[in-house]
Symmetry: C3
Subunit: 137 residues, 3 copies
């Protein structure tokens, strides 16, 4: 069964969703398998990155803000606000789905890895994830 | 069974393949599961993006064309044309595989999401996708 | 069963791991299915790219080194060396997991496709992959 998980974001930034994904794995008592996370939006995205030092997340945000500036005159899609088209581009540069193996009842993430929902819009948004558990052979 | 789906592109741009993926889901009468799309090429790529306003796709193309210009003197891989190495880089910045949950017999895409094959070459190309259906627990 | 595969990298560059993934598929005698590769690190990444002409890999490395320079004054995460934050950004722009269909006992890669582990740090590193095999319907 696929599980829908909802999340309220509070503006641009990386939101750690590792525990939300882990809860679905635990609830289904999966010992060995694969969990896939899918995001049902195009102006936010998914990412696995370092969870140890918050400066990594800050620098990721700064780099992407410089790479995809909100004031760029190239955008024609401006009706939904100056941050909307940059949000779509940042989402295109990162991920909408990702898969993580489950071993011994735990996601086999590296010691420094966390799963993030990256909100690219300034306004708070309600975001939906779909979490899928698959068997492995 | 994995299904191979072929597609003729007509030069650079985003080609909506949502219905092609959906057809495979329908033919197999999948009610609940996970569909994975894989592209067998390195100068085109996959992307899930907004399907509502065509200006999003236009701006994505413009942004990537500026980020990865065809005239950049840094490229040494030029034997296959000025658009080939930029095509590989654009593919590296986006996706070769992606997974979408299936719920109630439909892909659980967000309301504004479509699946695109992004052709990065100027010339028309024959492109092959492999579509895989997996059960979920 | 998920399989852990270890790999020693020798500094920045793309390391072809196609045969390592293929070995897991062969050992399990998978004829038809899906293989998912997951990387347990955030300063290296995964990528499927052209394996025919080594200049593609060289140009990818040059492009990413220019896009994400080591000397950028925007970084605040500098404690682990000048190449660490750029490594995280390059990893964010590429992949931590990817899936490839298996058909007739072989990964259904395109004729020019190889799977790479992209090491973004200068120093050699021990890297761990988790390889998951799933059935398809």
């Amino acid at each position: 069964m696929n599980s829908i998980v909802s999340l309220e974001t509070g503006g641009q930034g990386l939101y750690d969703i590792t525990h939300k994904v882990g809860e679905v794995v635990s609830e289904h008592r999966m010992r060995e398998g694969l969990v896939t996370v899918f995001l049902r939006h195009t102006s936010a995205s998914l990412l696995i990155q370092e969870n140890a030092d918050p400066s990594v997340q800050a620098d990721l945000s700064t780099f992407f803000a410089e790479l995809v500036p909100e004031s760029d005159s190239l955008y024609t899609h401006t009706a939904e606000g100056a941050d909307d088209m940059p949000a779509h581009i940042k989402a295109a540069l990162t991920l909408t789905s990702l898969s993580i193996p489950v071993m011994d009842g735990q996601m086999a993430l590296g010691i420094w890895q966390a799963i993030y929902l990256w909100e690219h819009r300034h306004a708070p948004h309600q975001r939906e994830l779909v979490i899928s558990l698959s068997a492995v052979l």
